[in-house]
Symmetry: C6
Subunit: 76 residues, 6 copies
């Protein structure tokens, strides 16, 4: 049985939290398009498309809201 | 009578919470387009369209905010 | 005098809350396009357009955040 | 001197709160396009465009989050 | 040295808060496109484009959430 | 080893918080398109495209929500 890809929303630092937000964004894409081959084929298309890049940044921003709240904004 | 498809927002783990967020996103589509046949016909179109994949990821991110808050971010 | 279409944000269950979120999304459309005839004519167009279906799901997700918060996420 | 168009976010009922959310959405458009004549000319275009109608519903949903929170979700 | 353009998120009234939300939206555009000349050239284009007007209203709605929360929704 | 690009979400002022929100938006783009050369080539395209400018402003607004919450809206 595969280990969970999301054991926790808690991260040690804001930067790791941001990386987790990127991961959440990508896993959601993978759940709609599970084929590694198709996603690899699409990547050069959208990674040179400004609209797609900005939309990706929007998804990361939304997920980062969740991760930051879970970590109480990393305040001591 | 059909059992509810959404008995609770509470999940055991973050990963199950993310899967619930994906489910919420799909049920909303189903409520606008109830035909299984039409949705099945549309799937190959949008699952190879980067803009659609990113937009889907945005919906999941929004629903994950809700599920994560309901679960107090799975903090013990 | 017509009864209110939105007497409360409180629902008995999460599923009913989700249905309320769908209703809020549709009422907002109706306020911009009040003609039943026009909306009926547009429905077959957007209900077969993946981008429109995903955008609709996004609106529902946003409204569900509001309804879920109002109901304290249906936690006892 | 013109009276304020937004004296308060507090409304008596959820339905009035939703109407305020619609108003906030429209005022923001007016601030970018102040000409009544231009907005009147554009209305027949976007009110028959499903994508525009759904996008409008998204703006209302976002503003309704704000109004609902301000009113503590109209809970007694 | 230029004074700050954003000394505080606190405003005296909801209406001033909404105007601040509009300002935040415009400053973000200015940070991506700093040329006054280019922005002035683009304005007649997007101010007659319904999709752009609705998208602008969405940005204002998002910023107004932030300003309203900062002001505790202007509740006494 | 490179120092972290995101040591903290805390900033001294709202204006610095807004600049951090812009930075978060750009780093997310960089994570999808890491090539400095490609991003430099795309910049003149999207910086003259109203839709892209508004979408960028939306991402900044979302990230500013996070930064502002982390800083308790800079209230003393």
């Amino acid at each position: 049985m595969a280990a969970t890809w999301l054991p926790s929303l808690i991260t040690a630092t804001p930067e790791e939290g941001f990386e987790l937000a990127v991961k959440l964004s990508r896993v959601a894409v993978k759940m709609t398009q599970p084929s590694d081959e198709v996603r690899a084929r699409l990547r050069p298309v959208y990674s040179e498309d400004p609209a797609a890049l900005i939309a990706s940044s929007q998804v990361v921003a939304t997920n980062f809201q969740t991760v930051a709240a879970a970590n109480h904004y990393w305040q001591v």
